[in-house]
């Protein structure tokens, strides 16, 4: 899943370790989410959204382009 985490982090001038500290996860976890290797759980996604004060769908993009499937 694509996401804006790297951009949002850069806007606050945070390193991956800084963001990890705010989310109480490791720097590896932040790196894995940013690079799309790991999709966060719903609770962690909400925590990220609250931290950046944005709706989840503005941070994470499931690349759904419409159609009949839900």
């Amino acid at each position: 899943m694509k996401n804006q985490l790297k951009v949002l982090r850069a806007m606050r001038n945070w390193s991956q370790a800084d963001l990890g500290e705010h989310l109480d996860v490791s720097r590896q976890a932040v790196n894995a989410i940013e690079t799309g290797k790991y999709d966060p759980s719903l609770p962690l996604a909400f925590k990220i959204a609250r931290l950046f004060d944005l709706p989840i769908e503005q941070i994470f993009d499931d690349e759904f382009e419409g159609g009949n499937d839900v």
């Binding site: 109480d24 996860v25 490791s26 720097r27 790196n31 790991y38």
Partner: protein, 216 residues
Amino acid sequence: MFDADEDVGGNGLRILWMILCGFGIVLLSGVITGFLSAHMEAGGSALKMTDYAILATLISVTLLLAFIIWKLFQRMKSIGEKASRREKTYNRFLIGSFLFGGVTGIALALTGSFDANETDLFATGAMSPMLAIIMSVSVGLIMPAVTFYWHKNVVDEQEEAAYRFGALIAMYAFWFIAPVWWFLWRGGMLPEVNGIALYFITIFVALIVWFWKKYL
């Protein structure tokens, strides 16, 4: 914009190289010790120039590997000064485990409390009741308690997912390797199925997958 985090990535390859260099150091230390022991057994006369050259090469390569580990560690550390509560606990746990394991190993070796064959990882002979009880309590009671705390309070969700995937693949490895080994044993092509070997294969598979999912 240069992003140090992007440059460092997941640190997976760096850690892999550090592990390989560590194995290299252990191997070379064994070769150096073996070389000197063989020399002492042969009379222990003064070393020849070729002996010095061999020793110097082995020691140089060992030091080079140690230097590579140190450089890789510095590179990992350069952007990792800040750590979350979980990471700090994680690091304290790892250091504590290494210290406990190291001190226990050295204490056993120095006091000569147990026969070397007893404590050998792959030994299959008889074991003293005392050592059997110590090992059973460690593996059957202490380790489950520590593991429970580890998963509940220390690892984060990304690592937990890596553990879960590692466990799944290890379970399948066991399910497939055990019967294949059993069939080949019955066909006279392999020695009898060894439960301890299967146990270590399962752990090894879980570790490899965990490392891949956590760091690479």
